[in-house]
Amino acid sequence: MNISLAPEVLFHLGSLGITNAVFSSFVIFIILVLFVFILNRKLSYDKPGKLQLMVEMIFDGLYGLVQNVMELKYAKGVMSFVLTFFVLILLSNWFGLMPFVPAISLEEKESTVTETSSTEKLSEAESTNHTDESIEKESFLKCLASQHCYLSTDGIKEFKKTVHVFRAPSSDLSFALTIAIISVIVTNILGFAYAGKGHLSKFINFSGPIPFFVGILEIVSEIGKLISFSFRLFGNIFAGEILLVVITSISFGLATLPFLLLEIFVGAIQAFVFFMLTSVFIGLAVTRHEH
């Protein structure tokens, strides 16, 4: 099974490593641009086509939710911002379920155990006084036991490391953390821009000892929001990926179908929840609290 927490690097642009999650997000970007072009070619006011109707239905539903939490003059600008999050996260989540994602992979060259486990050998030689042969045997046994190696007529060989070319971007903690940081920073910037002193007095409040500590707790809860946004998205999608890999490896046929449906549902819910929470927090930050 080929599961790794961190996405694998495919190639380097200068000194920047492009991982398979970043490459997938490029592909998603291209898909989005193509979709918008196709949508724009047939926009019509009195005779809308099916695609336009579907997009308008989703847009109206989400816009209603945003208008519930803030006034119309804010809702227009905020809607374009949070809708971007929704579409981006939805596509990123569903991209990991595409059939070509686990199928396309690159393979690294095969290598024998003696070349790769030389660091293991050195550390063992330092710690104990074994002979060279027993150290080799130990590293062979360790490699075989953890299923990184297999027995063949040429000796013990390591499994070739396969690297998937595509991976759901939201299964990368960097992606989830990035959009969480953007969401929290923009929420606070909008709060300062539209509510000014009111937003600042939520955090720094000298009108008594209790409001002061409540202000400090509010700052801590902003960081808590960061962590909860990123880990909610990352945990759901990464765990979903692992679930699909495990279920596929222990069953056959259509047994993975219910889990795929579950993952489709979870992906949509996570995108919706990110959208909803960001708009609720912006609504809270922007509304002037008049006592």
Partner: protein
């Protein structure tokens, strides 16, 4: 030995960590059902708020799951 302990730790992390959120989500959903039963007209509003609250509770379970994954795969 270490691999065995890793498996035990992974199982404990997610097993114990899912008790709290499971109870929490059950409580949330039951109160929401009561409220909808009392006032069927407000069903969609209550449903939206319920989903929001359930996602907060589920996030805690996801933290436990991430810890379990880190124990095993990192």
């Amino acid at each position: 030995m270490e691999a065995g302990l890793q498996y035990i730790a992974m199982g404990l992390a997610i097993g114990l960590g899912a008790i709290g959120p499971g109870l929490g989500i059950g409580l949330l959903a039951s109160k929401a059902m009561e409220a909808i039963g009392r006032n069927p007209d407000a069903a969609s509003k209550i449903q939206t708020q319920m989903i929001l609250a359930i996602v907060f509770a589920e996030a805690i379970a996801i933290y436990a799951l991430v810890v379990a994954l880190i124990i095993r795969f990192v």
